[in-house]
Structure formats: C-alpha cells, structure tokens
C-alpha cells in the first residue's frame, strides 16, 4: 500500500542531489530479496539509481543514523521520514543529538509497513514479494505464488499506528495524514486487568526468552547514549549476559525507564527482537501512565518540549495513588 512510489522518491533524491540541496542520501537498499531491506548512505547518483529502494518493507526507523552520519562530515544529508520516523527525528533534535542544518528531511506518507520477519515465518522459501493495492503476492520457490491480504501481513506496530501526520520535514511528498485515534493501549490495559500473579507469569514467560542480544537497544532511536550504562564498568550495573531470572528484568525495566518520556512509541524494539518479546508493552505502559498521571504527552511531537519525567507540578499524584491509577481505573 505504497502511496508514493519508489520512482517518486528516487526522482526527488536525484533532483536534490543535482541542485545541490543535499550531498548524500540516507535511504534503503535492497538486499538479496525485496523483503530484505537495509539502511544505506548513497553518495552519488549512480549508487542511488542502482540500489535505492522503497517498498513495503522499509519499516526501519532511520533517525538514529543521523547522529553518526551528521557527525562524520559537513556534507548535507537527505533523509526520508515516515510519520513515525518524524517523531523520533524531533525527539533527537530536542536532545541536541544532531545538527538540523546538516539534514534535509523529506516526509513520505506511509500506509503501513510489512514485516519481512513475520513473512519468513509464515511462508517458507520466499523469492519475491509484490504489493498490489490491498493484496500481497508472495512468490515462493516451491509452493508457487501465494496471495495475502495486506492487513494480515502488516507488521504489529503498524496495526496500532498512532499517527499518519508528519511532525517534521522540509518538504513533503504526497498528502499529509492525521494523528490517529489508535488502540495502542488496549494490550497494556488487558495486562493491567490481570491479577499480579498472572502479570508476573506473563512477563516471566516473555522476558525469560531474552538472550540479551541488545538488538532492542541498538535499534532504539532513544537509546543513543555515547556509552550505555550496561556497558559501563563504573555504573555498577554492567552486565552482558542474562544470568538469571531477574537480570534481564533489570535490564528491560531500566531501559524502559531511561526512554520514558522520550520514547516516541515507534515500535522498533519489538520489531527487531529475535525472541518476539513484546518490549513495546513496557514502553507503552510508561507512556500510558505519563498520559494519565500528568496529561497527554507525545515525545517528539514538537522540538524542545519538556518531557513529563523532567517536569513536575505541585499537585502530582503520590506514588501510592499512582500505582492504583496505573491499574487502568483512572
């Protein structure tokens, strides 16, 4: 369900390169298969024409790359932002993590992205994928062509898309959308309704699968520390491997806490988790609590906003009442 085609993006990139607006392009490059998409920086027209890709598997959030890419050189970088990326983009600007002057951002509408990972798990030996309207045709090596509804392959995070509206761009391709009234907190609420024992069992089941590969951390656009506390011997919490049932809880709680008020809910953590741990449910819990205790706040909605966790009012709820309210009955 691409609203804007690859050619439109490519032409825009070529045009901006040609007229000197940008010197480099951050985009997606297709891998061995069309659903195997990786981020890449293109330095010239030829490289772009050859490898530039834009399809329904370009879900990865690129904003984090801006930190390292803009630090490398004075050259101006073109980046394409989906609505969800634009929130992370703003959040990084709020935290002074890259130089806005060095980036030219083009907003691209997004109709939801597919998950290559899910696809591979659903269908064996996929050789190619094509999307036509709301149908997806999957070519396989052995089972011939299979057809799916776009919705069924839609990646989990896109099913609960919070916004089709770009909050940052220099230029927009196509039409901008609206902030959506999503049901993203439904799952959190379901957990809140459980008994503590059920919740514990649920999380124990989920988190015990963690292999501490750090993929969630490495992909997270909010986890951009120069050095992570978990890698720092002076922090007192350095650890590498999951050694027992609590270690990874500590990791995930602290990670969620560190991104609380900064997490834009882009869902990358869960997307990349090889163990399918619904990590976004931790982040969403903080987002939901922040909204209900301190008023609605969307990280990245505007540059320079002050996150509720570094703010206060004199009549905030006490931690004891907050826990009660956190049960979804507020």
């Amino acid at each position: 369900m691409q609203e804007v085609t690859r050619d439109a993006l490519l032409n825009k990139a070529l045009e901006l390169l040609k007229n000197g607006t940008v010197d480099r392009v951050l985009g997606y490059r297709v891998g061995e298969f069309s659903y195997d998409v990786t981020p890449a920086v293109f330095e010239n027209e030829d490289a772009l024409k050859k490898d530039f890709c834009w399809n329904s598997f370009c879900g990865a959030n690129f904003s984090k790359y801006l930190i390292s890419e803009t630090a490398k050189t004075e050259k101006k970088l073109l980046v394409f932002l989906k609505p969800c990326d634009s929130y992370s983009f703003n959040q990084l600007l709020t935290e002074h993590r890259f130089d806005r002057e060095k980036v030219y951002a083009v907003g691209v509408p997004c109709g939801g992205m597919l998950s290559g990972k899910d696809l591979r798990e659903k269908v064996e030996s996929v050789s190619d994928v094509s999307v036509n309207g709301d149908k997806v045709t999957v070519k396989t090596l052995f089972d011939g062509d299979l057809e799916f509804d776009f919705e069924t392959l839609l990646s989990d995070r896109c099913k609960n898309c919070k916004s089709k509206k770009h909050v940052a761009y220099d230029e927009l391709l196509g039409e901008d959308g609206e902030v959506l009234d999503s049901h993203r907190f439904d799952e959190v609420e379901r957990l809140e309704q459980m008994t503590p024992d059920e919740r514990f069992a649920f999380w124990q089941g989920e988190l015990s699968r963690c292999i501490r590969c750090n993929a969630c951390r490495d992909v997270c656009p909010a986890c951009t520390c120069e050095k992570c506390v978990f890698d720092n011997p002076n922090s007192g919490v350095q650890n590498k491997a999951a050694a027992d049932s609590f270690e990874e809880k500590m990791f995930h709680i602290i990670r969620a806490f560190h991104v609380a008020g900064r997490c834009t809910d882009c869902g990358e953590c869960s997307r990349v988790c090889p163990q399918h741990i619904p990590l976004h449910l931790l982040n969403r819990k903080f987002i939901k609590d922040i909204n209900s205790f301190y008023g609605d706040y969307q990280a990245g909605a505007e540059v320079g906003s002050r996150a509720p966790i570094v703010n206060y009012t004199t009549d905030d709820p006490e931690p004891s009442e907050a826990v009660e309210r956190g049960h979804g009955n507020a």
Binding site: T94, E95, H96, R97, T224, E226, K227, S235, R306, V310
Partner: protein, 664 residues
Amino acid sequence: MKRIGVFVCHCGTNIAGTVDVKAVAEAMKHEPGVVFSTDYQYMCSQAGQEMIKAAVKEHRLDGIVVCSCSPRMHEATFRKTAAAAGLNSYMVEIANIREQCSWVHKEMPIGTEKAIILAKAAVAKVSLNAPLTPGESPVTKRALVIGGGIAGIQTALDIADAGFPVDIVETKPTIGGKMAQLDKTFPTLDCAACILTPKMVDVAQNEKIRIFSYSEVTDVKGFVGNFDVTIKRKARYVNETLCTGCGACTEKCPMKKVPNEFNLGMDNRHAVYIPFAQAVPKVATIDPNHCLMLKSGKCGLCSKVCGAGAIDYKAKDEFLEERYGAIVVATGFNPISMEKFDEFAYAQSKDVITSLELERLMNAAGPTGGTLLRPSDHQHPHTIVFVQCVGSRCEACAEKGKEYCSKICCMYTAKHAMLIRDKYPDTDVYVFYIDVRTPGKNFDEFYRRAVEEYGVHYIKGMVGKVTPENGVLKVQGSDLIDNRQLHIDADLVVLAAAIEPDKSARPLATMLTASMDTNDFFTEAHPKLRPVESPTAGVFLSGTCQGPKDIPETVSQAGAAASKVIGLLCKDKLLGNPCVAHSDEMMCNGCSTCEKVCPYGAITYEDKEFRMPDRTTKVRRVAKVNEAVCQGCGACTVACMSGAMDLKGFMNKQIMAEVDAICK
C-alpha cells in the same frame, strides 16, 4: 586497595548498652580493606580524636569509618580530625549506630547485628571515596539592587553603610516606587513622602551608591560572587550630569496632555517631565512617544530654554556591563487590572477608583492638591463605599483574580476611611469586608479606632453590582449580619484591588535562574529559615517581589537581605560544597535532560572537540557543571540515562556498594 580504619564508639552506654561494640570492632577486622579496628568510650572526645590521628599515622590509613552517633552530630568533627591527621577530610564515613540503631532497638544481639551491617556499608562506601576539595571562587565586592522602591532603597543604603558599593537599577525615571505615590502610612498616619524622600536623598548623596534610573537589566551571566550583568540605560534625551532639574524645559514644552503615570492618569504632564518634585535623580526625561521633536523633528523648544545644554535629541540606548558579587531583587508590585471586575463599573465610571488612585486624590501633591474631589465632576463626595478583596482570595483556577490575600488592603482601607472621616466629617463611609485582617503591631487598634472613633460603617458582606445612574453610583451589596441586601447611593466607590508582582519579575527570574511560584512571586530558599534568599546562590529577595507585604515588613526584609549580602561580600573567597555533580564528558550525550531538572541552573553546555581513536576529531556537545552554583541535590544524576552525571561524595558506585553491603 584502601587502608581503612574502623573506630567504634561506646558513647558511654548510649551505644554500648544495646550494641556489643567489641564484637562490632572485631567483625570489622575481617572486612576487605580494613587494616585497623578498635573501640573507645567517647570517640568525639579529645582523647578519642587523638586516638584516630595516631592510628592514621601508625597504620597509614587512607580511609576512616567512625561508628558513632548521627553524622548530623559529629561528621564535621571527625572530618576535622582526619584533616588534622593529614588525610583529606572527605575520606571519613560515619555509621550511625546510635540514633538509628542502639536507641531504637532494645535487644543486644539484634542491635549488634544491625550495627555490623551499618558499619559494613560505611566501609564499602569509604573504600570508594575519593579525596574532595571544595572549589574556591573570588567575590566581587559590589552589589546590584534591582528596583528602586522602598525595598531597594533600604537594601542599598544598608549595604552601602557597611562599606560596599551598590548599584540600583530602576526602570522609571526616578526611584521611590509605590511608596512615593502614597499619601499617609498606617498605622501611624505619618506622611509617606516625609519618611521616604529623606531616604531618597540619602541614596543620591551616598558615594557608594550609583543610581541607574530609567534603566533595566537585560542579561545576567555568571554565579554567586561573580555575576556579569548587562544594564540597558534607556535614552532619556536629557544628559543626566548636565541637567539641573530646574524645570524650565517642562514649562515651555507644548505637549501638555500626556497622561501622568505618577498620578495614575488622573491628570496630565508634559512630554518632557520630572515625575514629581522630590524625584531622585532630579533630572528631566523626554517621553519619546509624545515629544514633537522626536516624532516629527519640529519643536526643539526645550533645547532652546535649557541653560545647561542638557537636551540631547540624538541620545541612544546605552548598554553597560558590570560585575557584581550579589544581586538583590526588589521589583515590587502593581495593583491588578480591574478589567475583569466590571460589575463594579470601573470602566464605566470615573468615580469608581482603586485605592492607589485614592492615595493620589488625597495627596497634597496629587491632581486635586489634596482636596478629596471625585474625578467625574470635581465635587466633594458625601457617600463613599469601599469594597475589599477585589481580585484577592479568588479560586485558584479562576481566570480573574488571585488566590492569595493581598495583605495590605484591610489596613490601608482603614487608613483611608479614617482620614476621610477626619477631614470631612460630613462624609458617610462604608466598608464592605469579608474579613478584617489586622495581624501587625498596633494594627487592630488602628482598625478599631476607625470604627469606634471615626464612625466608619463596616459591613460584613460584599458588593455585587455598581450601577452608575444620573451621576450617582448605585451600590448593591449584602449585609450578612443583618441578612439583607443593601442599596447605597454613593458618590465614590473605592476598590481594594489585589496586588500582583511587577511584570518585569518573570523575565528577570529567568535571567537569574531564580524560581518563582505560580503567582510570579519569587520563591525563597526556605520558607521559614531563609526567607530573604532565593534558592539561587547570591540572589536575594527584598520586598513585595517575594509576597505581599506592608512597609514595615518590607523595610525589615530589605535590611535582612542587605545583611545577607554584606555577609557574602565580606568574604574574599567562597568555599563551595565539594559534594557536587560532575559530568564525565566522555559519556555525556549533551541531551540537556540534566539541565532541565537542575533547580539552580548550574549546568551549561559547550561544544568540545574529542580526539577519536582513529585520530580524527569529533565535536560533541557536553554538559558542564558550575561547581560554585551546584548545591549537590543529585536530581541530574538520575535524569542522566548514560550515567555520565554523577555526584561526588554520593556516587552511583558508592550508593550501590552500600546497597550491596546491606543486602549481602
């Protein structure tokens, strides 16, 4: 590995009664790093301290744990002992085994067990202690007072009296503030000008004091002891040093219809003017909004008549940069706008006035020369209604009005009522009140005199509507005691408007990183114990910028602020608290999160060049803590997700070690 000594105090039987001190000392010997452990009757005694000093020398100790009473009692003592023994005084930790152990537990085994754990925690912490040195900073021996009302005047005079130079910055062309506009003062009824103007003259004549009138502070940098302040001297188009204040320019000025701010617009002044006769500095100012010469280039009369040649139509705003050791905020108050309270018909009738306007109407130097005449027709009013609490004590969420009590209205209204009845006994005076609040020396007596001797009618109730009709103000209000609605035909209605901080206070607070409450009053460092200091070191509060106050209170606070300033300026160097935050720039993300939670504005950012392993350089934004400003709360350390920000003396590692020791 550290060489730690542990000293367990008996405190007579205070500790030894419930804690087996020998067992504690013995147990500590086996802790990693402990090379010496002993117990003694009174560690804090001379002999006890000598014992510690000797042990430091003998066992080459570089860390000390004293198991004794609360650190709030004797931490300072043992730090001095350590210093005397040649150790850094911050290499001492106290295990509180008295207040938090022996005194609250009854059984010896339990007390002993807990004492051992507390001692272990202290050992764990001290083994990670690093020597700390308090930072030093010089003190610029000059103070800035922002605001030239009675608060600022008093503060400046007191500081100057102690021998320190002081600058006063005042936005108006003259100092004097609100008090200069008042007629008489309660509860003594002496004339405001008679007690204020001599002080203004003192300021003008004091060699230590410079007055920057018609000026404002536009930027503040630096910190306690060394504030760099930019002062904008607005162009007044009259050379201050040449002007003699003769007033010839004013007499000749053809622009006579400029509303006179000093009389709250109830009469007019000229475009070139001296606000009032006793103005300090007594120099003229040209109002560029009304001066014909400045607006159209045609006129120039004042320049022609000025014998001193002081008129300068080409004057420009000037910016001055000055350094100060301390800053006193004395920005004062204003009555709130009556715009949202027009049920009292303030906008509809000239005869509905605020109390401050009444002050001018009763003042001999006011628009009526001190005869009470109502503004609409200059007739003598025979029935006057005072309405209390207009805009004070409103619901917090109300868009109009203020939640607080303005404090001064009850008393000045009693004063007004009394003065009017005294001078014009044929006048009926009604005061509608909610409560009469008179907590001050001779205040209630004063109010009672208004009722008993002067026959002022005090009505418990509130006015709900004022209707001007045919030259009469029809006042409708309630009398709650008599349970009836009153209808009074009044000639003059006086509203006790709530007071609010001057509008200049909010941007100033931002410049000073001084905190304010929701009403824009400056917050004090401690509401009871440090009422004249702002939480920002080196910034002090004087007068109504901190909360509603009357004149005696303002003057005493002004003096208190001055004494705090003098105390600071007396020092040659400031010793900081060494337990301050510190950012590891290698790990800092430059994300500004710590800056947002710092209550003191102690954190700034700079772009710093780093050499990378591959020999390239990279510029990164990193946090920098100003140690002279940081108070060591640690809010930033938790806000910092990378752990770059840590607190000396309470490092993450140290606290974690304590946790581990306790939970082991």
